[in-house]
């Protein structure tokens, strides 16, 4: 005990302090939404995703009620560049790992989208609803709801809800997975170079293949179908089956 001098005491004090909860330093998901991350480049989420986290016009997606693991993965993928977006990449890169985890958890705890059991009734062939509910199996395109769940409510951590997202956002994502093919020059127009996909973060390449096999018109139609589902005011009785 002889060497219980000032430096030792300081070390002990630090040890005690570190073992206490430190609310000032722990990442607070709600605070990140409202005020941004510790790094000022990580702007507040609500600026673009809305105060309620349900997204905003201009293709800013809903985050409220999305699966925690899915949200965290997207932020990590923006950081790594497997999902590219000029607005989100700098923001995600400015968030620490703890902040990513905290904000993903906070949004996952917000309300999920409410969708009625069978929105829209029987789809008509060639419509967006048809692609969503029946698929285009002659091109091996499964119906969206087969993986994203009946009514597009989302399944597990890997298949996010499509219901509750805007048509603008869904269309942009399908095109991000697809990229653009090169267009050869004509007498009237110059050649347009190919655009590589800006989203490559789908597990097992499941979305890239689907997006490549859809036309622009089909992408727009299916995006409009999910965009039209909206957020129902009546909660769905979870003890009931959702029909395909």
């Amino acid at each position: 005990m002889r060497d219980f001098g000032p430096s030792r005491r300081l070390a002990l004090l630090c040890g005690v302090l570190l073992s206490l909860p430190l609310p000032a330093l722990a990442a607070d998901g709600e605070a990140i939404m409202q005020k941004g991350g510790a790094n000022p480049a990580a702007m507040p989420c609500i600026t673009c995703h809305g105060a309620d986290g349900k997204g905003m016009a201009g293709g800013f997606p809903r985050l409220s009620g999305l699966p925690e693991d899915y949200l965290a993965k997207q932020l990590r993928d923006f950081k790594s560049g497997s999902r590219q977006n000029p607005i989100m990449q700098p923001i995600a890169s400015a968030l620490t790992d703890e902040e990513v985890a905290a904000v993903a958890k906070a949004y996952a705890q917000r309300p999920k989208v409410n969708v009625q059991a069978t929105p829209g009734g029987r789809p008509v062939e060639g419509s967006g609803a048809w692609i969503a509910l029946r698929g285009l199996w002659d091109r091996n395109v499964p119906e969206c709801t087969l993986c994203h769940g009946p009514a597009g409510v989302g399944v597990g951590s890997h298949f996010p809800p499509l219901a509750g997202q805007s048509a603008e956002y869904i269309e942009a994502q399908l095109k991000a997975w697809r990229g653009e093919k090169a267009v050869a020059a004509t007498k009237k127009a110059k050649a347009i170079p190919a655009v590589a996909p800006t989203r490559r973060n789908d597990p097992n390449g499941l979305m890239q293949h689907i997006a490549v096999d859809l036309s622009d018109a089909e992408i727009k139609a299916v995006a409009e179908y999910f965009g039209s589902l909206g957020d129902s005011k009546e909660p769905f009785d979870e003890t009931q089956h959702r029909l395909r």
Binding site: R122, V124, E125, R134, G135, W137, N140, V141, P142, L146, C147, G149, P150, V153, G154, V155, G156, H158, P203, N204, G205, L206, H209, I210, F236, E238, T239, Q240, H241, R242, L243, R244
Partner: protein, 311 residues
Amino acid sequence: MTTISVRLAVLLLPLLMASGAMAVDTARLDDQTQLPKAPKKVSGTKYFQPPAEGEIPNNAFGELVRRGQDLFMNTKALAPQYVGNEMNCVNCHIDRGRKANSAPLWAAYPMYPAYRKKNNKVNTFVERMQGCFQFSMNGKPPAADSEVLTALTAYAYWMSTNAPIGKALPGRGFDEPPPPKGGYDIGRGKVVYEKQCAICHGDNGEGKKVGVTSVFPPLWGKDSYNWGAGMHRINTAAGFIQHNMPLGRGETLSDQDAWDVAAFINSHERPQDPRLVNGSIEETRKRYHADDGVNLYGVTVNGTLLGQGVK
């Protein structure tokens, strides 16, 4: 016997018979593979094209066809009394029973009634569907004249519009790939499963649900097909997987991978074969599994005897 009681007996008789018909003679449903082999599709030709959904007529018949399609897609939700697990017809018959090499209805319906060597009987299409309920859906077969089987029959009949009767069409069944020359390997199959399948079907083959509704079907365990289902055969599962899995990316796995992963899936415990003979796995294996394709019922894998069943 008084007149009244006779009348009562007459009234009750159809009820008793209906409930008697529920207990289907299991020996008549045991076999799934005795139809003539479907020919390969000639390259450059298309598979049979069933009519479009929009062509279902708007009349009483059309209503029944639509009801059949609804049952086909939502079997557990709409016919829960007959489904003992979390499977729906559409899980094995992709695209509502329309997709070639996913046991399409348009190729099956015109092949019945069919004689089956194993039970030495002619089986109707309805009896074939009863087999699906008993084995693939681990449930109780609906009566032959039930609304459920009548609607499903109407759906299959409508889908077979313009299909030749009694002619094996390319695309029927699952077009099973031949067994790999070096055999299959459960360990390799586990690697394929973890990489390609677990994302949807879960780390333990449990599938995934939304609320009470099954989205990705369980592949083993108590909520999956039982040991009597055709899919418990590795060769059959390999065919389904090679042509249809992962969803939308069918025919990307090699035949070897399809066999390996089919073996991995079917080396897990599942509900008991309802035909269990004298409570004996050994007797049941001899009678129903020994000559039924490639399967692991009654086989010891990694020190565990398979075929014990789970509830």
